[in-house]
Symmetry: C2
């Protein structure tokens, strides 16, 4: 990294989740970008209108909020409801409310922040410790379970909430509570304190950002200390291995992300923060190397990360099963956190590319359109239509073919809430004399450039449904300015129209660097014809399959859209027929290849014929069982299958689903 | 089922693990079959020479044996070592020793049974309860955790050990302990007792068999009661769902096996026992239906069952990942238990076919050739060479690419021990006037037929390495007798040679029904040319791949056998060249298709070319990242790859491994 001090990098307000003091790009805040309509404005409005209240309702109902009251009242006991990390959900909701208040200025939202703060603050111990699960009458002692106790994890989310408050409103009781908590952490775990780390990284990213916004150098030092301590067997070994909490290899030395995906990614985000603040190129290189490895060998088409249910973890290279894809929503959020920090540090477009993919196909997939139910895991293949847990049910498990109102482990709803509430902060960035558009949706950007000039642009688009993105210059600065428009990695043959002058632009950044005029309009036309996407031959799980994408969206086949009596597992795609877009969905051509009867051994002596004919030789019985009759015949009459954007799957009803469909070979 | 009373079915001795009072086939015992040499005799000898002592050593070292001493001494406390089910490992070892004593008559083995019994017996409470984890000072109360407590599970294994003792030696202190324990179970959980079941089935199969051998009807009644109680939400719901312990659907109504594979299969085994004893055709049909479904859609090529690590469970239909295949060794043992009971009940060859596949490719895979280390999980694909835990290490996890000396959860070693010690009991069966050979290995069979005549046959073979099996009639009965030789499902074009008269025989049973002469020899020639095996197109995980089998053996490619610098993940098989056998291994032809560089997005706009050439169009960059360059070129120079029998994988050293190899398409 060539360090570059961003001129307004240490500005405490501005509504930005991440404000590095060095880096190639300056983030814009929720105060500088307003969503004016379209895909993300709708999600954000629903988030504000429904999800916050929904989350608070459930946390009240389950006693997670009352846990704070009981600590304050001294009435704790062994019967505390919720997991050890339930406090963090309250903090994530507060963080979401802070961003939302910056957007809407709605006093009801501000009241909610104050109301929740007023319940949290009295639970803080005099020395700054704040956790409702440990250290009080009839509870385990503080920090007695570093591996699984989640105490510092909870504190980290408290600090992130305080960062949101500071960057949007300013200091208040929440911030004071967070400062006391951060001070307590530094005192307890500093150079001369406990040589421990938290099993679930998060304190690091919280300390780093609170340190930045408050100019508290020792918070950054403590974050760095936690990073450096990790990876040396600091934590106890567990059946899942120390890789589960990234305590097997120091982050500077690791080539890959390992273990629990959210933990690995929160840690990587903090590592970028520390690398940037310390101008530590080696550490930044390490995270970039890990990112590149993960993107090449450990990432799903949707951008989802985490292949294993067992440890919610990254698996081996190329271990990317569609059906058992975990792709936790929170790992999607965490992946955006890492990529965003790497983008700010390096300015490289690939990070924004992955952010778009992950936003549209993981983060946006989680919430139901009414904002009151969520996916936790985001598999790319649902073999059987799942039971619907109902509006009133707490899902005991992460995996489900239907969005759940709430979870026993309910990290995802509040993570979606805080991410959607601050979504616009990831849409654009500024440089010394440039404004860069990274994500496309209806929005107004009023940005100050590094050189002190300001520029105002309205973006109007139906993206991702449509590929036309219009940038109207509301207020141009005097003198030349660079507008940089991301051309996504999939957008071959995109066109840029500058007042009738058309030019072809390639993936990367399309740059318009000249004097602009008020009222002038640039039009970026991104191709949105549906396309087949093929997996690298090393991805065992989807060999012989194809997926369909359109623009930045991954599509899927839902069983409820198939003709009566057709099993989704029997559908084979005919790629000789090009996919066609229709009303935001995509039509493909398919045939049916039925499954064998029960009791037929599914491993044969002869290669299955995938074409329509069947040789006599093929009819040889080689099944284990009396009714083995060899592979079945292909039904040759093709039919149309309508594919749905993946982020909408199971919106209508629980159903079987596939992103990757087997390809008909002739 | 047409019930058929087997004439000696209730004979208490004879060294047989399972003795139904009804059924189409009579099992032969370890007293009637002696292994004389070859594959299984070697495994059995190593089991006796090394594994028993190895298991006892570890259980002593870890305090699992001392747990009994402490209960007897009244010195229990909260610090009891081992999981709640560690008692069962002692019982399984005793069971193994009982079978071994019947085989060898070695007084040292008998001493071991007595020595272990002498440590167990004093721990039994006056009312018959026997468990070192519950119900004593500073322990949880008895039966306070039916879901996960494993108390009745442990008792079930105690009963099975007593069955082995009764059927080989007769009644003694072990049997008395078991009777008291069984009586206690009936009193506690009978019609008027606790309406509970154990989260881990096993008591049912133990009660059923102890009931048979002792003629204790109420043990069978209790087994039936447990079966009938299960499946109605009798147990508490857990995050993995009640399917985990088969409490979601009654076994009579279920179409498939669900949840934890060992639990499901132990339960199914007990259901066959109860169905046979009660002549309950509907219940037998249910288990047969579930078996057929599992074999068609939930079973690996190796015979392994259980696709998921998370719950050690059966997954959905067609969910058969090679890399994350759990295929627990114990599930292989349990699958044999079910299939054996179904074979005895129905006489159908398919059950013996699956038993052979499972014995040779799952059960035989687990123990290292020295009998002192074991696989717990048996995946069909190891992506990365694993660390070797060392001879002195207790593996905390089930998954490993290297056999471990012992496990934190160490169910598999003792299950292998008891199964190998009684292996010959599954090799043949008798009918009214027939002797049926089910498994082939060097052995002497001295069997009494249902009509009271006896026959003695020596089997001589190098099977499974060689396909020639010679049956020499040592002592023929007077009058015609039927010798029935299983022709395995994969054995097309097998030949039977009756003193020079050759005939082609087909999969199923080849029958020689005539008067036999002493000294006469029958020769069964099974084809052992290696063959390619193709998956049904519904098995997503191995689409586009092929496996190699030879006779009953599945083969695999081990990375250590590849040319220097070749990554196993880059190896693609050329199926135009037929596989060739050489010294028990198989040679196939392959090419290398290298992986992409790091940071290359692995999903492409164009189908990967699998042939040797590469079009210019293909060279289009479509990677997410600056160095994306499209799919790589295929290295066209083919080379030989030597495949190893799967049961020998990782014997030489930990290594990456694949059973299913991608197929070169042109």
């Amino acid at each position: 990294m060539t360090a570059q001090r961003t001129s307004t990098g240490t500005d405490p307000t501005g509504g930005r989740p991440v404000v590095p003091s060095l880096g190639r790009r300056r983030p814009l805040g929720v105060n500088e970008i307003e969503l004016t309509g379209g895909f993300w404005a709708t999600l954000q409005a629903t988030n504000a209108a429904a999800t916050f209240e929904h989350c608070e309702h459930w946390m009240e109902r389950l006693g997670w909020l009352a846990n704070f009251d009981r600590v304050a009242a001294g009435t704790t006991g062994p019967d505390r409801p919720g997991w050890s990390f339930s406090d963090s959900e309250v903090y994530k909701l507060i963080e979401a409310l802070c961003w939302e208040f910056a957007r809407s200025g709605d006093p009801v939202v501000d009241d909610a922040v104050r109301r929740l703060t007023a319940r949290i603050a009295p639970a803080q111990d005099p020395d700054g410790y704040l956790n409702t699960c440990y250290g009080h009458p009839q509870q385990q002692p503080r920090y007695s379970d570093p591996e699984m106790g989640h105490e510092l994890y909870c504190t980290g989310h408290l600090l992130q909430a305080a960062v949101a408050r500071l960057r949007t409103t300013g200091t208040d009781e929440l911030v004071q509570v967070a400062r006391r908590a951060a001070d307590h952490v530094c005192e307890t775990f500093g150079e001369n304190g406990l040589r421990a780390v938290c099993g679930h990284p998060e304190i690091e990213v919280g300390l780093a950002e609170l340190g930045r916004v408050l100019g508290e150098e020792r918070y950054l030092e403590q974050a760095q200390l936690f990073l450096d301590r990790r990876g040396h067997g600091t934590l106890r070994d567990i059946p899942l291995g120390r890789a589960y909490f990234q305590d097997d290899v120091p982050i500077r030395k690791a080539d890959t992300w390992r273990g629990h995906a959210v933990r690995a990614l929160y840690l990587a985000a903090a590592a970028v923060d520390v690398a940037v603040e310390r101008d530590d190129g080696a550490l930044l290189d390490a995270v970039q190397r890990q990112w590149a490895h993960a993107v090449a060998r450990q990432t799903y088409l949707t951008g989802g990360m985490g292949s294993r249910h067992q440890d919610e973890g990254f698996g081996s290279d190329w271990e990317l099963p569609s059906d058992r894809a975990y792709c936790e929503t929170c790992a999607g959020v965490a992946s955006v956190m890492v990529s965003w920090r790497l983008y700010l540090a390096t300015g490289e477009v690939r990070y924004a590319d992955l952010i778009e993919r992950t936003f549209l196909n993981v983060v946006a997939t989680s919430p139901r359109s009414d904002g009151r139910a969520f996916f936790y895991a985001n598999p790319l293949h649902q073999r059987v239509a799942d039971d619907w847990p109902g509006e009133d049910g707490v899902s005991l498990r992460a995996e489900s073919g239907a969005r759940a109102a709430w979870f026993d482990v309910s990290c995802c709803p509040t993570n979606v809430a805080r991410t959607l509430a601050s979504w616009q902060a990831y849409a654009a960035s500024a440089g010394e004399r440039d404004l860069t558009f990274l994500q496309f949706t209806g929005m107004r950007v009023d940005a100050e450039l590094g050189d002190g000039r300001s520029v105002s642009v309205d973006v109007d688009t139906d993206y991702p449904d449509d590929g036309l993105v219009r940038f109207r210059i509301v207020r141009a600065p005097s003198g030349p300015v660079a507008l940089r428009l991301r051309v996504p990695e999939w957008a071959e043959d995109a066109l840029l129209d500058e007042g009738g002058r058309l030019r072809r632009v390639q993936p990367g950044f399309a740059v318009v660097d000249r004097e602009l005029e008020d009222g002038e309009e640039l039009r970026l036309q991104l191709p949105t014809a549906p396309r087949f996407t093929w997996p690298d031959r090393h991805v065992d799980a989807v060999r012989g399959c194809v997926a369909v994408e359109r623009g930045p969206l991954v599509y899927c086949a839902e069983a409820i859209d198939l003709p009566e009596g057709v099993d989704l597992e029997d559908v084979v795609l005919d790629t000789d027929t090009e996919p066609v877009a229709r009303d935001g969905r995509v039509i493909v051509r398919a045939v049916v290849q039925p499954g064998p009867e029960d009791s037929r051994w599914p491993y044969h002596r002869r290669a299955p014929l995938l074409g329509p004919s069947r040789s006599n030789e093929q009819a040889h019985a080689d099944g284990m069982g009396p009714d083995g009759t060899g592979p079945d015949e292909t039904r040759t009459d093709g039919f149309d299958v309508t594919l749905t954007p993946y982020h909408q799957w199971a919106e209508r009803e629980p159903t079987a689903m596939r992103v990757w469909l087997p390809v008909l070979t002739r």
